[in-house]
Amino acid sequence: MHTKSSVKLRPCWWDGLVVAAVLLLSGAVFFFFYLSNGSGSGDLTAVITHRGEEIGRVDLTALTSEETITVEGTYDLTIVLSSDGAQVISATCPTQDCVHTGKISRAGQSIVCLPEQVVVQLVGAKNGVDAVIG
């Protein structure tokens, strides 16, 4: 089928097609995920999921002071919500990726703790409401 003797060892122009395809995919995902989630001015909402179950949904724009949420499990996380974003300020998980992510403030962004399966995701105004009557 394909052997080492028949494969080109130097990069060539056709590889550019693969590179272009990957770039295109990257752009498309970015567009659909971030831009259609609504760059929410207005009701920016933080949705917190723990092991697949939603444990909290907080309208950030309605917050007048910081709100702290603690998630307990094999590892513990401390999440701080404020009117302009969300941040994991401390966690007991080994790699601390969630803490390193820092503060997120735009719809579509999220902080993930894989070991404890916690996701803090920001959703924009249009996502906060499923239907409008009136």
């Binding site: 060539c12 056709w14 995902v29 993930v112």
Partner: protein, 171 residues
């Protein structure tokens, strides 16, 4: 899949090499630069690509499966299995298809494989977390794949060039 003893031995060596590479890339603190969970350089893919061309599809798959299983056992982390499997299998499938195109060099194939690997990992993250949030990392990971794929391709090309005169598979 009829393997000669030589081929079988090569498989074993490659598996060990892949495990070693996996462990080694775990030491490199990539998440300090890019705070994304599970981001890896994908060095173990070097073995996958090499095996694919040197031995063929089935041996390469076997090495991949063995590396993922043993890797999760050594790491003491069963959930890592779904991540490495999904990433590895998807990368393999994409590379098999891409390798059919003679016009592509090993760089194109490796980049495609690296991108598929990251997509597979995001898929695993979504299943594990029960959320679509991980998709947000995909755009960045795909760009990173361009570089890790090129790196993998480069290393394998060096390997092949160096091994050109070594008759590994013959008496």
């Amino acid at each position: 899949m009829k393997l000669t003893t030589r081929q079988l031995a090569l498989c074993a060596v490659l598996t060990a090499l892949a495990l070693g590479l996996s462990y080694m890339e775990g030491l490199f603190p990539v998440s300090l630069l890019i705070p994304l969970p599970g981001i890896k350089l994908g060095l173990a893919n070097i073995v996958t690509v090499y095996a694919l061309y040197e031995l063929g599809v089935w041996p390469a798959l076997a090495i991949l499966a063995a590396r993922c299983l043993l890797g999760s056992v050594f790491a003491g982390n069963a959930s890592a299995l779904i991540f490495s499997l999904m990433g590895g299998v998807l990368a393999m499938l994409v590379m098999i298809v891409l390798s059919r195109f003679r016009r592509l060099s090993i760089f194109g194939v490796s980049i495609g494989g690296a991108a598929a690997h990251n997509i597979g990992q995001i898929g695993a993250a979504m299943i594990t977390l029960g959320s679509t949030a991980p998709i947000g990392y995909l755009p960045v990971l795909l760009i990173v794949a361009l570089f890790t794929g090129a790196l993998t391709g480069f290393v394998v090309s060096l390997l092949f060039r160096a091994m050109k005169n070594v008759r590994l598979m013959h008496e």
